[in-house]
Subunit: 508 residues, 2 copies
């Protein structure tokens, strides 16, 4: 049976607001405080100075949809179904021809928070499926302004419809039609729209004295990268830096708004990103993973280690720095803890409550599992990381110019065939070698000790693993965003082709 | 004629103390404030928070001796003689069989400061020649505790003597004999000795009310890397990190000492390093250049961009960040400005006075010249960097395992043959592409404009260049540290072999 416990009375009265700032394809090395050489993020740097910096914080997948599903469920994608079995170790996501999405059986953070009196809003990218049954308002959110898929396009409305933008239940327009993105100049005012939505929602909630959960999942740093006119050309880093500057400015305004409304001490804010920088799009459309190896799509540090900052004035001490191994899935558990809600006890939750780390400076021993699709590629425990499989991408893809590790090449590590190391994992010490360049000698005592420890964790993990039904196997042109709810009012309904479900193709 | 102007009266009364903290092979990415993922430099991070961070600060050579000669003369090595013509574009330094050293015709910073009433001390590594005529006390320093060469060894005293450690004019012992370095454990207490020397000197000068120039040129982060017992094993980063932690701790103690003596507002402090991290020694004996390409010995950013912090409470505003293109040679000019001394007018000085940058937040337009030995390899102007020559090291060296760019490989850029690009320089935009991975298209307008501008700077630079007599061409076993002054008292004189001068061999 599903057991949920919450206290609506006193807990609701003191439960803080929760604001998750989730970036899209932003890398560990993109913030000044994490060593970006242009140092153009004064507001985020200030947020870190006033809060706690997490240096060893991870996503649960090097790709967007599974990462977001993990954040909102507190569970690894292999459990919540956000993976594919069409190929081995392939990253999958939710393009608009995907048939699957977040299963009803999954319990999402807003569903749980709602029952504790929270009003929940998602601003920006949902990415957990765009068919009606996957709509965020069917999974615990009360409000939505944003889109179900990436802002790719423009499309011709015949082969492929443009991506809709929703307000709550209904679409209010489409990208490139009603919500302009100028691919030539990179101009789009979407971040400003998302900023205003956040400020308005916060004001409304403050006035109504209801606790809120705001999931601000903006996407300006995902290709095609965009910025508002006033930010274009202002960065040393080109368009990508312009987008970062606009986001930094927006976050500064949001934090200031909380302070001006007098609710900053009652609002827990956490900043992070969904996966590593998309080096494949660099330098114009991609960010930086600092000193780490490779980027998005890979299970090297550059693909999965994320910038992360916690901010809660009066509670989290200013200027803290933590080496706690953290995960986006911890935001689920930590948020429930903040709200005084018990996590579901009928399923495995991978997230942990980080409040003892943030409030009392504790360090909790826990491993990090690096999955690519259906395969456990690597495991980190302490400062050691063992790779059980290595792969960047195939020779075939690489020969087309698709490079997840531009300018980087570590023999036997950034391999272009899927290399199994199950019986003799490649081991790195991430303290001495954060760039994963120098595997430890198999013959060393250090290797033996560390691998023995990690092997035990893997065994334990695999023994208790119940994979979810894979949601990202089937694609069908008929399910694309032809006629989203609300399209009639706008005269924006398009005719869907005949259904023709196929296995999705996942090359990476 | 040589014209020097200084004001001994009022200027001496108000001239601040000058403290240069020069690291050895420490990289841009080795400090927390510059994004090192272990973030183990709280004192340096605090120094940056209280002072000004320079993000675009450079050395004048990717190797130690020429870099140090440039710092102390304010002139490029190609002018002051710290280069070789034995091969094209070869880095040279001062091993103990080098015949040359700093020419008497060069005017060193301490010589100039001395005449303005400063007491000058060098603690640590001199590296401008070890024969009697090159002794630091013959070039303006009043005191010395340290050694003339790198702490390589141990040697057998027959083929090669161990490196002497001097106190002022005389040697007081040798490395590995009287000053222990345990190569197995990495233990050595040298940084503690250098720290105590600094604290004592500062106390003495404060008591005597004489302004001082202290050049704290410690070498714990140069291979063989070492740390004191109390720091061994304390870092996430292994021995290299232990050394960094000890240095960070020591600098914290020095700054605190200045504050406790009440002279922090009268002491200008600048922290930087002599060249990029020695990736060839990584991960155990080498540091990090953060997101930059390659390391020591190269003219890529990893070889020449340095961590840099200015600190002068009450004068330099706290928390400043500057994108001023700076150089170690600017420390010469800035120090003279602080002391109220005019720079020599009979020779070309490459340094500029950074006080307007630090005190008024100005930005001064000036190029950075990247030399390797006798060749101008690259030039930076604004955010553009043009490479006229590219080279990492030769295939022959590379095949021996000598790799200046481990894990990094950029086609046509990190070349293993010396590639000339004089007529069509490789151009990078360091804002969008700090890692020098994406050369701009030769056909673009942006390329044309930037290269035209930089070509003008190169022409101007070359037209006025008067190369000094190269000092690093001749080596002779007879000139090694067999019998340094003071050896008789210690019974440590060794017999020199017959003189047999030869061309030095510089493979890189």
């Amino acid at each position: 049976p599903l057991c949920l416990c919450w206290a609506l009375g006193p807990a609701a009265a003191t439960a803080p607001n929760i604001l998750l700032l989730l970036m899209d394809d932003m890398g560990w090395g993109d913030l000044g405080v994490f060593g970006q050489p242009s140092k153009e993020t004064p507001n985020l740097d200030q947020m870190a100075a006033e809060g706690m910096l997490f240096l060893d914080f991870y996503t649960a997948s090097p790709l967007c949809s599974p990462s977001r599903a993990a954040l909102l469920t507190g569970r690894l994608p292999v459990r919540n179904g956000f993976y594919t079995t069409n190929g081995h170790a392939r990253n999958a996501y939710t393009p608009q021809d995907i048939v699957g999405g977040i299963p009803d059986s999954e319990l999402l953070l807003p569903e749980l928070l709602k029952k504790a009196g929270y009003t929940n809003k998602i601003i920006g990218k949902w990415h957990l499926g765009h068919r009606p049954q996957f709509h965020p308002l069917r999974h615990g959110f009360d409000e939505w302004f944003g889109s179900p898929n990436c802002h790719f396009g423009p499309y011709d409305s015949r082969e492929r419809p443009n991506i809709p933008v929703y307000r709550d239940w209904d679409m209010v327009g489409r990208y490139y039609e009603d919500f302009k993105i100028d691919l030539k100049t990179g101009e789009a005012n979407l971040t400003q729209l998302y900023l205003q939505e956040a400020l308005d929602f916060i004001s409304k909630q403050q006035a109504s004295q209801q606790p809120f959960f705001l999931y601000w999942a903006i996407d300006a740093t995902h290709a095609p990268v965009y910025a508002s006119k006033q930010f274009l050309g202002t960065s040393q880093r080109g368009l990508y830096g312009d987008a970062v500057k606009e986001i930094d400015d927006s976050i500064g305004k949001i934090l200031k708004h909380l302070q001006q409304l007098g609710i900053s001490e009652n609002t827990f804010v956490f900043f992070t990103s969904d996966n590593g920088a998309a080096l494949i799009s660099a330098p114009k459309q991609g960010g930086s993973n600092g000193p780490f190896l490779c980027g998005k799509q890979t299970t090297f540090e550059g693909g999965m280690r994320e910038p992360a900052i916690a901010w809660w004035p009066g509670h989290i001490p200013a200027g803290g720095v933590s080496h706690q191994l953290g995960s986006v899935m911890d935001l689920f558990s930590t948020s429930l803890s903040l709200a005084g809600v018990q996590p579901p006890s009928d399923r495995q939750i991978d997230g942990i409550d980080l409040l003892p780390v943030m409030l009392q400076g504790k360090l909790i021993d826990r491993p990090i599992f690096y999955y690519r699709g259906n395969e456990l590629m690597a495991v980190r425990a302490g400062l050691y990381k063992a790779h059980y499989w290595t792969w960047s991408n195939s020779w075939e893809e690489h020969s087309k110019g698709i490079d997840f590790c531009p300018g980087q090449s570590v023999a036997g590590v950034t391999t272009h065939t899927q290399e199994e190391h199950t019986y003799l994992p490649l081991l790195f010490h991430l303290g001495r070698d954060p760039g994963e360049k120098y595997p430890l000698s198999f013959a060393s005592d250090e290797y033996q000790r560390a691998v023995e420890h990690i092997s035990g964790l893997v065994q334990q993990h695999k023994a208790s693993l119940v994979p979810g039904q894979p949601q990202l196997n089937v694609c069908d042109q008929a399910v694309m965003n032809w006629s989203p709810p609300g399209c009639e009012k706008l005269g924006k309904c398009l005719k869907a082709p005949e259904s023709d479900p196929k296995k999705c193709s996942w090359p990476h």
